[in-house]
Every structure is written in C-alpha cells, then in structure tokens.
C-alpha cells in the first residue's frame, strides 16, 4: 500500500449492503451504546480530577465531589502556584524532557538510518544487537550498580541517559526509512552527494511525520518518568514533578494507613484537591499536544505493522 494512497477502510466497503437485518440494527445500537459507556469510563477519572481541583477540601472529604465542582474556588490552584517546590520540580521535568528527547532523537535517527540500508555488511548483526535487548535486559540491580559506579547518582544523567534509545522507536523509524523512495537517494548518490549529505538534505526533510511521532513518544516517556529519579536521585532539588506528585500521594496514603490502623477512621483525602491540581498541571502539556500529533502516531505505528 502506497503511503499516499490509503485504501478505504472495510467499514465503508461493508456499507454497500442495501438493507440490514433487524438483528444487525439491534447489534449496531448495542455496539454503539457499549462504546459510549466505555468512553465515559475512560473519561470519568479526568472529569473527577477536574471537579476536585476546583472544589474545597471539605466538600471532597465529605464525598460530595464527583462530576461537578462543589464550593467552586481557585484557592488550590493558587496554593500550588505559590509552591516553589512544585515549580522547581516542574522546571526539572521540562529540562530533562528537552535534553533527553534531543539525545534520544540523535541516537535513534542515526542508528535507524544505518539499519535501513539493506546493502550494509553486518546489518543483521547490528539489528540483532538492538533487538536482543528487547527480550533480555540487565535488571534493576545491575543497572543500579552500573549507574552508581559511573558516578551518575544524584546527577540528571541518571534520569536522562539510560532510557535514551528505545528499540521499539528504533524499529518504527527503520521501517519508515526503508519505505522512502529509493530513487531520490540513488540520484543524490550518483550526483555525488555524500551519505551525510543524503541523510541531512534528503532523508530528514522527507521524514517530518515520523520525527514528530518519535519526538512525541520520547517526550512523553521523559515527562512521565518517575522511577529513575526515585532510584537514583536523593537531592530534592533535582526531583522531577512526577516524583513530587508521588511523594504527595505516598504521604497521604501513609497517613491514611496509619490512621486506619490506629482508629479505624481515615484521613485518606488530605490534600486530595492539591493532588488533583498537581495531576492536572502535569497533564496539561500532554493534553495540549495530543490532538495535533494523534494522526501522526497512529500512522507511524501502523506503518511498521502493516506489510508493504
């Protein structure tokens, strides 16, 4: 299938029937109802967070806040906005995401380009070296030992470097490069353009869609990561915002468990509104980018999975 001539989906092909049986009409109604309910289930947690973020702590603790804010106010947003810890960790996340994505893109793009050249001697080995790591990884402990002995603990490199090459992204990009029209590169080669020249002046400009997809995947990965920071960073001034949120949740739930164990009562929703606001502020950048890149990532993933 040529990338520029998408085939009509079977849905349209199957609408060519003139008349549907009654049972099929019933099925359609049931089917769509189930899908609508599923969407409601998917969206509910987001709506609840939004409602809680505008509600008072009292209303939340009384169990009054579900779909709509109660005691509408912006106090929680103001409180979080005035929290310098929040902004410092948020800033760290932005820095880690920018640097990490840049490094990851350089590694992924160059390696994928090399792997897409079928004539290259040793290509199979180069692919195997990468793919093997998908099926067998070192494990938490040896990784921890390595990062410690490289002296990367308590530096941002412990968070940035280890995830900087995803084999999955690498394979998607390789598939994309293999699909580029050969003639352009061949012509450029014959005209005497070097491999570097071909890479930067022919291949890169043709690959904007897949590059956009990969940038999205890597930035979401860095944006969402908390575990590397949890493992390797002790200095709170280096924490990403996900770890800030995790500590907020862990603090509340520890208090809740202790409260429950001690008296049977609970304080589990201490700062539920603060948690909600923090989550929403972490989500906003993803939600803003998501609609614009969605069509790219769907076609990007499909590209690797649908043959020829």
């Amino acid at each position: 299938m040529a990338p520029d001539a998408p085939r009509p989906a079977p849905v349209t092909a199957r609408t060519s029937r003139i008349k549907d049986s009654t049972s099929y009409k019933v099925f359609t109604v049931v089917n769509m109802t189930v899908l609508v309910l599923m969407c409601a289930l998917m969206l509910y947690p987001f709506i609840m967070l939004l409602a809680q973020s505008f509600s008072s702590a009292g209303a939340i603790n009384a169990g009054k806040v579900n779909l709509f804010p109660v005691d509408f106010n912006l106090d929680t947003y103001k409180a979080v906005a005035n929290n310098s810890n929040f902004w410092r960790t948020y800033g760290n996340t932005v820095v880690y995401t920018l640097i990490g994505t840049t490094i990851a893109m350089v590694l992924t793009t160059t390696y994928a380009y090399v792997l897409s050249k079928k004539h290259l001697k040793g290509r199979g080995l180069l692919i195997g070296i990468a793919v093997f790591t998908m099926f067998f990884n070192g494990g938490i402990v040896p990784n921890y030992v390595l990062i410690s002995s490289l002296g990367m603990k308590n530096t941002m490199w412990a968070v940035i470097l280890p995830p900087a090459l995803s084999v999955f992204n690498l394979l998607v990009m390789k598939a994309f490069f293999e699909n580029l029209p050969n003639e352009l590169e061949e012509a450029a080669h014959i005209d005497g353009l070097s491999w570097f020249g071909i890479f930067f002046r022919i291949v890169m400009p043709l690959s904007k869609a897949v590059i956009a997809t990969m940038v999205l995947f890597y930035s979401v990965q860095y944006w969402n990561d908390w575990f590397a920071a949890f493992l390797y960073l002790d200095r709170t001034d280096l924490f990403p915002v996900t770890l800030f949120l995790r500590n907020l949740i862990a603090g509340a739930s520890t208090a809740a468990s202790e409260g429950a164990a001690a008296s049977g009562s609970t304080v589990s929703d201490i700062n539920a509104n603060i948690q909600s606001v923090t989550m929403i502020l972490i989500l906003i950048p993803i939600l803003c980018v998501y609609p614009f890149v969605q069509r790219y990532f769907v076609s990007g993933i499909m590209l690797g999975s649908v043959k020829g």
């Binding site: 989906a9 079977p10 349209t12 199957r14 029937r17 099925f27 769509m32 899908l35 599923m38 998917m42 947690p45 609840m48 603790n61 169990g63 579900n66 350089v106 590694l107 992924t108 160059t110 090399v114 050249k117 004539h119 001697k121 790591t133 099926f135 067998f136 070192g138 494990g139 938490i140 402990v141 040896p142 390595l146 998607v172 598939a175 050969n182 061949e186 070097s194 491999w195 570097f196 890479f199 969402n224 908390w226 575990f227 739930s253 520890t254 809740a256 468990s257 429950a260 589990s268 929703d269 989550m279 972490i282 993803i286 998501y290 993933i301 499909m302 690797g304 999975s305 649908v306 043959k307």
Partner: protein, 324 residues
C-alpha cells in the same frame, strides 16, 4: 515492552524491499572503505547499547560473586550458586513468585482479549466521526504517567471516593480497598485494562484495514451473515497479529508492572500484591543485598526469555506464525 513494541519485531523480518543499492560483494575491508560514513553513524548508538544495555547484562554475574559496595561492578570473589540456593530455599521468594504468576495470569486473561474485542466493535462502526472520537478517547490513558494513574486509583477508591459512594448507594459499606489484600489484584488488573485497552487496538485496527474486501464480498455471495463474516473472514485476518501479541504477552508474563505495583501496594497488601520485582527491589536496593537480588532478577529474566522462545516455537509448529 508493550504490546505495540512486540508486533514491530514480527513485522520487521517479513517484508523484503528492494535495496537502495545492490548488495555489494566483498570482505569487511571493502565494506568499511565504501560505507565508513554509515558505520561511523552507528558508533554512538553502539556505545550507548554497550554501556546501558549490555554492561548491566554482564553485571548479572554478581549473582554468583560477592559484591562489595565501592568494589568492582562485577563483584569481588566467586561464591558459586550460594545466592541461587538462598532464594530457592526462601519461602518469601516462592510467595512473591506465586503472586507474580497469579497477577501475570490475570493480566494476560483480561488485557490480551480486551483490545481484540474493542477493535472488532470499532470495526463495525460505520459513522467515521464517532469511530474517531472513540479512538481518540481510548488512546488517551496510554500517555499518562503511572504516577497519575495510581493517583486516580487512590482517589476513586478512597473512603469518600466514587466507588464507595456507589457501594453505599446500593446499601453496601465503604471499604478501604487499597488496604485489603483481597482487592489488590483486581485493582491492579482493572487499572491496567483501563490504561492499555485503547492503545492495544491500534495494531488490530491496522490488521483489519489490510483484510481483503473481496473476501467479504465472496462470503456474502456465499450467504454468510454478519456474524459469520466476522468469524470466518475478520478473525482469520487478524490471527497473525493475535498470535504475535500472545507470544510476547506470554514472554512478559512475569514482568508484572513493577512501577505500578510499587506505587499501589503497601505493607497491608504485601500478601497478595508483592511481586518478584518489588521483592528484589526491597531486598536488593532497600536492604542492600545486591547479589541476592541480582540472582532473583537473573532467574526472572531467564524464565521470561525461555518463555518467549518456547511460545514462539510452539506457535511456529502449530499455527505457522512466529516472531522470527
């Protein structure tokens, strides 16, 4: 490794395309001379893989050597199977092994078929706009940080949360779900399903668009109704995708979402929620028995690898679909 990553591997191997230039004969010397710019582009990624992927693999040797903080990352002296022996005779290990197998099994049973069902349902929707909206909404959870997902779970399941409000509306009592061992696995699997079902459909929807329309045409002429078309045309069309993803899911069976469990469990739910990776995290990194934890980690990785290999072999023999 996620579902989507898995399919990739399968797709890579099977679609030969014309090379940019004809394969060139000759030895390494010739190849290096000709393609040195390409090889030089590969240097940085190869160094990266060597340091951050292969060195830790070799670092597993500390499972058989005594490790001293500040000493060599490969340990100081051989102790043979001491640590392997230790965990094999450790009842706590077998407890977390059982938990892992149960949670992994439940995840497989729930999270493998759900995307298939959703993709088949979406495939029957004729209104393109409706279909797009459902897809957009269902992909969204995939992009959330596990911290946020767990944060949502905490709030939904708190004593004043929505779930308990519903329970109370039906005359039940509020339950502090996250402190109850009997609820842990269910909560884990439900949140996993919530986050992965939509994204998991992408590969199936891709496979569905590749099913030949003429097959539907032919089956209609043969008098097949909708259900029969789905059963005899649609499902066989996505079978290779299903098998590939099943193999990879089986291989990932023991890699129960470590980060999610770590965020979701607490001492009260250890009895059902503690899994191999969280156990070795506590033993290794919290209590500092690095060699012992490395032995457990290596055991887990080898089992996972062996399971992918055997699932792949079995499916090759039985249905002719394999990863490589």
């Amino acid at each position: 490794m996620t579902l989507a990553e898995s399919q990739q591997v399968a797709a890579q191997e099977s679609a030969p395309r014309p090379a940019v230039l004809k394969p060139r004969p000759g030895g390494w010397k010739r190849a290096l001379k000709r393609d040195w710019p390409l090889y030089s582009l590969a240097i940085a990624p190869l160094i990266f893989l060597a340091i951050f992927r292969y060195l830790p693999m070799l670092g597993n040797v500390i499972a058989f050597r005594r490790f001293r903080a500040g000493g060599s990352i490969f340990g100081d002296e051989w102790v043979g199977m001491l640590y392997v022996d230790m965990f094999i005779h450790d009842p706590a290990f077998w407890n977390v092994f059982t938990n892992t197998a149960i949670i992994g099994g439940m995840t497989l049973v729930v999270c493998f078929p759900l995307p298939i069902i959703l993709a088949l349902m979406l495939n029957e929707v004729r209104r393109t706009h409706f279909k797009r909206i459902v897809q957009s909404i269902s992909y969204l959870p995939h992009f959330l940080s596990v911290v946020i997902v767990v944060g949502m779970v905490y709030q939904l399941l708190s004593l004043q949360g929505t779930v308990n409000q519903i329970a109370e509306a039906f005359g039940g009592d509020a339950v502090s779900f996250l402190q109850k061992p009997e609820w842990f696995r269910f909560i884990y699997v439900a949140s996993e399903a919530w986050q992965t079902v939509g994204w998991g459909t992408i590969l199936y929807l891709a496979a569905l668009t590749a099913v030949d329309d003429q097959l539907y045409e032919a089956s209609r002429i043969d008098g097949a109704n909708r259900w029969q078309q789905t059963w005899h045309v649609t499902i066989p069309g996505i079978r290779p995708t299903m098998v590939t993803l099943l193999i990879l899911n089986i291989g990932n069976f023991l890699n129960v979402g470590f980060e999610k469990v770590l965020l979701l469990y607490n001492p009260m739910t250890y009895s059902t929620g503690d899994v191999i990776s969280t156990y070795l995290y506590r033993v290794g990194l919290v209590s500092n028995n690095l060699s012992y934890a490395a032995a457990i980690g290596l055991f887990q990785a080898i089992i996972g690898f062996a399971m992918v290999m055997s699932a792949n072999y079995i499916s090759k023999r039985l249905v002719g679909t394999s990863l490589w």
